[in-house]
């Protein structure tokens, strides 16, 4: 049973590159490719396991699409965001809106297939950069006007895990360091994502990004 993938990317070159990567992987099946937000909305009722989408679409921001997908609930497909630079604001806004990770646009198509499959199995749920971005987000919150929110948001254990992941520890290394199972690491990561998405500051950050205050 192959996982259904939809690509939302307005640049045909990149869309084709990513499409090749998806199709090259045994576990993935490319259902559709669209270049607009409207086109993507038309595909939301399909049974989809993974969205790979660009944030800068001609008729809106991919952030909106992420929020709409997350608002539907139900099966909760995985979402990966395509990024040129993998920079902090883009990735953090996507993650806080509900994305699971990001792909650099220029990586090898074989890597695209692999990373997409990893995202589906939850094998590599939190890359060092995402962990670091989340930590910075929390640090900024603590230095902000409501300093307790950053502390209260995540448990000390989750912060510890983020610090290890941001240092480049693999899931296995982090599990050994914290003396917990890799399965528990996965649970922690899910919990971190869930908490980030419901936090007010996360929403504010996403809104700021969408309204163009932050760069794309």
């Amino acid at each position: 049973m192959k996982a259904n993938v939809i690509i939302v990317e307005d640049d045909p070159l990149v869309a084709a590159h990513v499409g090749r990567g998806v199709e090259a992987h045994d576990g993935l099946s490319l259902v559709a490719t669209t270049g607009t937000l409207a086109g993507a909305r038309g595909l939301l009722d399909r049974k989809v396991d993974l969205f790979i989408l660009d944030l800068g679409l001609p008729d809106g921001s991919g952030i909106e699409l992420i929020e709409e997908i997350r608002a539907r609930g139900g099966l909760e497909p995985k979402i990966l965001v395509l990024s040129v630079l993998g920079d902090q604001d883009t990735v953090l806004a996507a993650v806080l809106a509900g994305a699971d990770g990001y792909l650099l646009k220029d990586i090898d198509s074989l890597d695209i297939g692999q990373q997409a499959a990893d995202a589906l199995t939850g094998g590599a749920p939190l890359s060092p950069s995402i962990a670091a971005y989340v930590l910075r987000h929390l640090r900024r919150q603590r230095e902000g006007p409501k300093p307790d929110e950053g502390e209260a948001l995540l448990s000390p254990r989750e912060i510890e895990l983020l610090q290890l992941l941001a240092r480049g520890y693999s899931n296995r290394q982090a599990a050994a360091e914290l003396e917990i199972s890799q399965h528990t690491i996965g649970d922690h990561v899910k919990s971190i994502y869930r908490k980030l998405r419901v936090s007010n500051r996360g929403e504010a950050m996403v809104r700021a990004f969408r309204s163009g205050l932050l760069r794309l």
Partner: protein, 577 residues
């Protein structure tokens, strides 16, 4: 209610008339409430004896204006002793005969105003009570209120920052109370030879204090204060002299009274006139009070029929009401002073606020300019960074492609390094001043995928304590580029299969970053083996210098290459997460 605001003489007239109205209103209220109805004239002895004989109920006698006990004899009645302000019961006794009646004081000669009455007990008792109220209770009331108000003024002195007017007025009120007591009861309570000196000494001291009070009220003049004190000393010396000479005070006191009261009144009028020029409001209020006092004395002298004397003497009521007036005046002045102080304070506050605002404006301007300068510096830095990295790479690539010197894989490699450099710049901008362990983990994340695809493992190890120190944007970008160059060398020239990036603390607070590979290695001394490699090493050393760091290159043929970079860092204190 909004009264029209009166000004000028209308206002003065309104104040004066208002004070009179208040005083006489209070007077009428008290008299109407307390004075027994009707007159005692028909009970006056000796004419009342006829009436007395036909009296059915209890009869009694009463003498108004007594200073001590007096003996009353009426034919047909037992002799009875009358006391001041008290009615005494009369008992029939037919044995006492004769047609004459007599009324004689027991201690001294009776005062001229002393008049005896006889009649029904109720009527006499009421008359006696009224006299008691007028002559004794009222005085006690005056004494008590004056003493209390005086004491209150003195106790509250610190509140008004030891106002001279308040202190002197407090002393004046206390002296008025003492004088009232001495005048009414002193002779009986203090039957000593020196009592007159005490009594009149107190009285003139009180008048002196009144003069000082006026002085303080209109604007303190030390010379006038000394003059008032001098007058008191002269008067007291005269009293003392009289005392020692054994002469009676009765001869000199009226003269002294007349002189001192005239002086005081004259001084008061002069002072008020002087004050009226600068502060008409208070002067008019004091004038109103003085006029009330004068009116009450005139009323007593000319209008109140002396023989009956049953109406309340207005001048008895005047002092307490006058004192209330003075207290009101003091309270009003205190309020004014407070208001002025408040206005001065808010004025000061406004000035401070304005200065604050202008300081804020200039500091905002300064901050704005600082920001502009910082943005400008940042822009120049960005331009320099683009020259130094991606710009140079793309230019070389362009020139090489134009001259058809490059194969497709070489072009891809060049473009890849341009994109890598862009990512390094973006990451340095994002990650500057963040912990260095996170920054290097992200660098490794960026590089490892592609290296793995080429069969090269990139390991990363960090043994820095958490929180790790941080580098600023510039130094971080230099570090990224140095490492990028090192990895490119390892891949291109050394055919490495394993690269290790290790970060460790060093003894002197610096951070040691080691990039090791298992490639072919080279002899650093003769690093001119390949032109590209030589340029790469020079570039790396330059970047190490940009970071204030030191780069050691350890390599030998067949033993791989170790780049050891020591960077001094300031430990980012206070970071936790």
């Amino acid at each position: 209610m909004n009264l029209p605001r009166l000004t000028g003489w209308r206002r003065a007239l309104a104040i004066i008339l208002g004070a009179q109205l208040l005083f006489w209103g209070a007077y009428v209220l008290i008299v109407a409430g307390l004075q027994p109805a009707g007159t005692l004239e028909r009970y006056r002895l000796p004419a009342a004896r006829v009436l007395l004989a036909s009296e059915q109920g209890k009869s009694s006698a009463f003498a108004a204006g007594l200073s001590g006990p007096a003996l009353l004899r009426i034919p047909g009645w037992q002799p009875v002793i009358l006391y001041p302000a008290r009615a005494s019961l009369l008992t029939r006794d037919e044995a006492v005969t004769g047609i004459g009646w007599s009324f004689a004081c027991l201690e001294n000669s009776c005062p001229k105003a002393a008049t005896a009455y006889a009649g029904p007990f109720d009527r006499m008792n009421k008359a006696a009570d009224w006299e008691k109220f007028q002559r004794f209770d009222m005085v006690w009331l005056v004494v008590a209120t004056e003493l209390m108000m005086g004491a209150a003024l003195l106790v509250l002195l610190p509140v008004n920052r030891f106002s001279r007017l308040q202190g002197i007025t407090g002393l004046l009120l206390i002296l008025v109370g003492i004088d009232a007591w001495l005048t009414t009861f002193g002779a009986e309570s203090l039957p000593y030879v020196w009592f007159p000196l005490l009594r009149y000494g107190t009285e003139y001291l009180m008048l002196t204090m009144a003069a000082l009070s006026v002085n303080a009220f209109v604007d303190w003049r030390p010379r006038e204060a000394w003059a008032a004190c001098g007058c008191f000393i002269v008067v007291f010396a005269i009293l003392l002299g009289t005392m020692i000479a054994g002469a009676s005070f009765a001869t000199i006191v009226p003269w002294l009274d007349a002189i001192t009261l005239t002086l005081l009144l004259g001084y008061g009028v002069v002072a008020l006139l002087r004050m009226g020029r600068t502060a008409p409001g208070p002067a008019i209020r004091v004038l109103a009070i003085l006029l009330v006092a004068l009116a009450s004395i005139a009323f007593d002298l000319f209008l109140l029929p002396p023989p009956t004397g049953f109406a309340l003497q207005a001048s008895v009521l005047a002092p307490p009401l006058t004192m209330f007036g003075i207290l009101f005046e003091i309270a009003l002045q205190g309020h004014r002073l407070n208001q002025e102080a408040g206005e001065a304070r808010s004025d000061l506050e406004r000035q401070v606020l304005e200065q604050d605002a202008s300081l804020l404006r200039s500091s905002q301007l300064l901050r704005h300019q600082e920001r502009l300068i910082a943005i400008d510096a940042e822009r120049q830095r960005l331009l320099r960074d683009m020259h130094d990295g991606v710009g140079g790479v793309l230019t070389h690539l362009l020139l090489d492609v134009r001259e058809n010197r490059l194969t497709a894989p070489e072009i891809e490699l060049g473009l890849q390094s341009a994109v890598d450099d862009l990512r390094n710049m973006a990451s340095a901008i994002d990650t500057g001043n963040e912990p260095i362990d996170e920054a290097l983990a992200m660098f490794r994340e960026r590089m490892s995928g592609r290296l793995a695809r080429s069969g090269i493992a990139l390991d990363y190890r960090c043994t820095l304590p958490i929180p790790a120190p941080s580098l600023d944007v510039r130094r971080l970008l230099s570090l990224y580029r140095l490492l990028q160059e090192g990895i490119a060398n390892a891949v291109r020239h050394a055919s490495a299969t394993r690269i290790e990036l290790a970060v460790a603390p060093s003894d002197n607070g610096a951070v040691l970053i080691t990039l090791s590979d298992d490639g072919t290695g080279f002899e650093p001394d003769g690093a001119s083996g390949a032109a590209g490699e030589g340029r790469g090493l020079a570039n790396m050393r330059r970047r190490a210098v940009q970071m204030n760091g030191r780069l050691d290159i350890e390599s030998a043929a067949g033993r791989g290459t170790h780049l050891i970079l020591a960077i001094p860092t300031a430990v980012a204190a206070g970071r936790k997460a």
